[in-house]
Symmetry: C2
Subunit: 331 residues, 2 copies
Amino acid sequence: MTAKAGPLNLITDVAGLRVGNASDDTIKTGATVLLGDAPFTAGVHVMGGAPGTRETDLLSPDKTVQQVDALVLSGGSAFGLDAASGVADALRAEGRGFAVGDQRVPIVPAAILFDLLNGGKKDWAENPYKRLGAEALASATPSFACGSVGAGTGATTANLKGGLGSASLVLPSGHTVGALVAVNALGSAVVGDGPQFWAAPFEIGDEFGGLGVASAYPDVHLPETKLSQHANTTIGIVATDAALTQAQCTRLATAAHDGFARALVPSHTPMDGDLIFAASTGAHEMQNPLADALLLGHAAATCMARAIARAVFAATHSDTDTRPCWSSLAP
Amino acid sequence: MTAKAGPLNLITDVAGLRVGNASDDTIKTGATVLLGDAPFTAGVHVMGGAPGTRETDLLSPDKTVQQVDALVLSGGSAFGLDAASGVADALRAEGRGFAVGDQRVPIVPAAILFDLLNGGKKDWAENPYKRLGAEALASATPSFACGSVGAGTGATTANLKGGLGSASLVLPSGHTVGALVAVNALGSAVVGDGPQFWAAPFEIGDEFGGLGVASAYPDVHLPETKLSQHANTTIGIVATDAALTQAQCTRLATAAHDGFARALVPSHTPMDGDLIFAASTGAHEMQNPLADALLLGHAAATCMARAIARAVFAATHSDTDTRPCWSSLAP
């Protein structure tokens, strides 16, 4: 049997998940929300040296709350953590959240990327991210656009504009795996100055241009980076309908980091806050836990690599850009 | 400036480090020791789902002992942890170790790989690994062979024999980085059934055959593995002469895992005990800590990817092999 992308080639091919994006093109930033129709099990693995997070400590197998209501990716550095506050307040208004007596406490882990020096107008009087979080939540649907939207609105890589990307895979076991990522990497998603993506070996069809692998690999040991711009961090989510425990979600998040390594060079640097959440809706039990967990982890890694390439591939121009779009390189 | 391999293209291009290997070709296993002329700072990052380790808890920035005397990689699954006991006893006899009153306690963190089902004769009456550890230590020299030696003696990958590998890189800053790895991966180091290595984009010269990248990428989403053989785990060490704190060594070990992801598909599975130690001899201060740490981490990842390919490239035949050697595929 072969593996193929799901019908949308988005993380929302995992049934029961929706994604909402909000963008502010003046500030040149935004927020992205992954919302479950019902609470879902989640884990996290942080591998970057400069993370910015909220509610990640509860995502451990020994902690009491095992499920979350939503996951948030946001621009704005530490200010962007307010996006999760906007989501939590809105979910509370809908009566959603972890029940404690007659109170409901929405559980909304979040991670941010640094886009404060990307050419946008950053002189806000009031932190805009709470509003962006609420707007993203209100727009959550199964279908959504990739590129310069949501948390990827103002994102950059070493030599090209970054963005928001997603991809999915349906395994022979019937389980679906998807990835969602905001690519703001210190490193590069393409090989040298060319249009070929590092993730090319994992491309399905022409989902990011179909150009195949690069023929030459210049400067791979001393790659171009945007170290001096201090604009960094790739944050993502992998999701599946396989029924995973919180501990198994943690392992899925760990495996998915291989997708960062394969799609971005360099990756996981001391200046990146690279982090991956993993989510399980629990709809379908694993029939063969060892073999299924192995392939789910690998699929999470390959979906993540593909989602990273698709983010950069789909980025669109803005007049204040500090980096060209991938489309300007296209043959 | 360009980056180039060190004179030996081995981890021992980092001055002050020696490597010793001991092999038992009947049991088809062995042990590898990285020894410092003086104690060195060390860190670790575990990413596999099935690790086997000793003395890794002390390799944290908040723990009191910040330096170690040696690092051990061994076959033998949990039995192989005895290799570190053999090393510690021998170092004690030499008067080496952490001083506590008039006692010396050698600090010897270790990790093992599973090679108990590799065709070797495993009916030992007495655990052989303490002896192998002592023999490896006694043979420690700056120059050593790669391939079917030491901890890589009986190692395998999904479709080819594994082995012991090493590589080094000299950075424009003058710092040297090296990697040492025993490759016993569940996944594969080559693309499909061909001789091209996943690590090909990072090859320097023809250090693992010079065949370049593969032109086709079959089965990358549903790769061949040796799941049913339960023979797994890739364990490695990255080292540098840059003066790093224990915390910076931990980050170097984390970054180096990208080398596993780029050289092995799949990697970091639930059945692999994938782990990397990082070592700093401290000989040369960093002049530009941010930029140097970034390039050191990237070099650790690319050296590790190259060392993995060199391990499989150098494997040699044994009559009890369960996998062919890479040389049987060579054009």
